[in-house]
């Protein structure tokens, strides 16, 4: 299993032909208390770099972009009742959605953990 990161602070875990997407610890820290997460419908087609979900804190709403193109296969229903999971466990229990990978080559150009860390340090 490989984990990649985007400059918009999403992470993506790739396992075979499917992947899991969430937002990073850095992102949840910047947003503050998460109060609501709007997830894509199962079966929705999402495109690389386009809106796939929305994450809301008390005073801000941010779009979450899909790191790659694919079809949504599962959404994390636990976030509906428990949005604070995104704060407490952003990179594990607080995942957003799973999707099929349409084109593996889209993963090229995403950052690995070390590259993302130095990207955040530069902000």
């Amino acid at each position: 299993m490989a984990r990649y990161f985007t400059e918009e602070h999403e992470w993506i875990d790739v396992e075979g032909d499917s992947a899991t997407v969430g937002i990073t610890d850095y992102a949840q820290e910047q947003l503050g208390d998460i109060v609501f997460v709007e997830l894509p419908d199962i079966g929705a087609q999402v495109a690389k770099g386009k809106d796939a979900a929305v994450v809301e804190s008390v005073k801000a709403a941010s779009d979450v972009y899909s790191p790659i193109t694919g079809e949504v296969t599962e959404a994390n229903d636990a976030l509906e009742d428990d949005p604070e999971l995104v704060n407490s466990s952003p990179e594990e229990d607080g995942w957003f959605f799973k999707l099929t990978i349409a084109d593996k080559s889209e993963l090229e150009g995403l950052m690995d953990e070390a590259a993302y860390k130095s990207f955040c340090d530069s902000l």
Partner: protein, 453 residues
């Protein structure tokens, strides 16, 4: 200039502190050619309180106040007695001159009132959640249509022909820009609304069905079948109510399956005011739709010491955060009118509201029977609350104008509401509230019978 506390010597001292010599030095960014050198020419200069009051009083005298007439106008704005307490409370400076409660620690008065208001509206409408109000009934109606589009992701809107024509016009105007498809029509001149016809028009692409209750002709019918039909096709039922007092007598729209209930709250606490400011009410039956609602919402929480308090919440839906992705561009509610509504409703309570509603219905029944007995006059409605339609054997619009000469405001003619529709020209909407005396009703009846020729 009684509203300006600075003296010339203050102004001099302050300019010195700022480090300039003349007030125009503070307007340097305005290009000289755009700056006016003196007061705009040809306009009056400042005037005393007495002089202004005199002028405004003179203008007000050119209107016929409802209290000076036998008064039967309705059609979306109703005259009710507003207790003196209501006007006293809304004139308290702490309510009148406060801003939107963005600093909740020093705005609990407004916030608690809004929470109570939302709860009152939700109960009145038979819904789960109401917002903190909107501009008026007509704009709330459009906002409901827009919300139905967001929820269902469909674009076809079915309007009942018996929806207030101004409301229908607002929806049609706005829909031109959002490219929603609007299916409307005219009211059928029958004793009961054409619910079957409406149901036939609902299809798979329909986002919502909009029905007024009581409708523009004052008719009432059970909406359950329409709700079921809409839900079967995946559409929402939006119910519009323009007379909240009616809901002290007849079933709440939420009880009959309405998904969104909107309406005009003016009847309770606000007063006629020639059409505004009024009070848009907006509620949803299913709490899961809350995040798609437009407008402000007040919610309960606790403060740092654990005491209960209230805040504006779920504001990420709104324009100041969402900007171009907001649910609506609305940014004010109708706060002071909501307060008036809430105070009046608190004074009434369920008991008072039911008594008020019963009195309205009693007088309306009395008036309907007396009017129906006049040759050339026929009451159209099978059922009604405090407003009904009579069909005259002459142009109702002219009749209304003629009777106004004798200080009888006989109602609102359908010709005024649906101009150029010959088939409706004999229709007259008569609203009878507790403010009409039985003498007024007799005066109306004899004036109409004398003028039927």
């Amino acid at each position: 200039m009684r509203y300006l506390p600075l003296t010339d010597s203050d102004r001099g001292d302050m300019l010195a502190t700022i480090g300039v010599s003349d007030i125009d030095d503070l307007f340097v960014d305005v290009p000289a050619e755009a700056r006016l050198s003196g007061p705009i020419e040809g306009l009056p200069t400042h005037a005393s309180e007495m002089a202004v009051e005199k002028h405004m009083r003179r203008l007000s005298k050119k209107n016929l106040a409802a209290a000076d007439a036998a008064f039967f106008c309705g059609a979306g704005a109703y005259r009710h007695h507003v207790p003196a307490t209501v006007d006293h409370i809304i004139q308290r400076g702490e309510f009148l001159t406060a801003y939107t409660p963005y600093q909740p620690e020093i705005a609990q008065g407004t916030l608690q009132m809004l929470f109570e208001f939302q709860s009152q509206v939700a109960k009145l409408y038979g819904c789960a959640v109401a917002n903190a109000s909107m501009y008026d009934g007509s704009t709330a109606c459009w906002e409901a249509v827009a919300m139905a589009g967001r929820v269902t992701k469909k674009k076809r809107v079915v309007l009942s022909g018996a929806l207030h024509p101004h409301y229908a016009e607002v929806v049609k105007t706005m829909a031109k820009f959002t490219e929603d498809e609007i299916a409307g029509g005219l009211p059928s001149m029958q004793g009961s609304p054409d619910d079957a016809g409406l149901i036939e028009r609902i299809d798979e692409n329909t986002s919502c069905v909009v029905v007024q209750y009581p409708d523009i002709l004052g008719r009432i019918s059970d909406l359950t079948e329409i709700a079921d039909a809409a839900h079967k096709k995946g559409a929402l039922l939006i119910v519009v109510n323009t007379e909240p007092v009616a809901l002290g007598a007849i079933k709440a729209p939420g009880e009959m399956g309405a998904d969104i209930v909107v309406g005009e709250g003016q009847s309770i606490g606000v007063g006629l005011q020639f059409g505004g400011p009024y009070l848009g009410l907006f509620a949803v039956r299913d709490p899961k739709h809350v995040r798609q609602m437009p407008g402000r919402l007040c919610g309960e929480t606790v403060d740092a010491e654990g005491k209960r308090g209230f805040v504006l919440t779920l504001s990420t839906r709104e324009q100041h955060i969402r900007r171009e992705k907001a649910t609506s561009n609305i940014c004010t509610n109708s706060g002071l009118c909501a307060l008036a509504f809430s105070v009046h409703m608190t004074l009434l309570g369920e008991k008072g509201l039911r008594t008020l509603a019963a009195e309205n219905h009693r007088l309306a029944c009395l008036a309907a029977d007396k009017l129906d007995a006049i040759p050339g006059v026929r009451v159209l409605n099978d059922a009604f609350f405090n407003e009904f339609t009579v069909v005259l054997e002459r142009d109702a619009r002219e009749l209304v104008r003629d009777l106004a000469e004798d200080d009888i405001l006989a109602g609102v003619s359908l010709g005024r509401l649906f101009p150029h529709e010959e088939a409706l020209s004999g229709g007259l909407l008569v609203a009878v509230t507790e403010t009409a005396s039985e003498e007024d009703i007799d005066a109306l009846c004899s004036a109409i019978s004398e003028n039927m020729a």
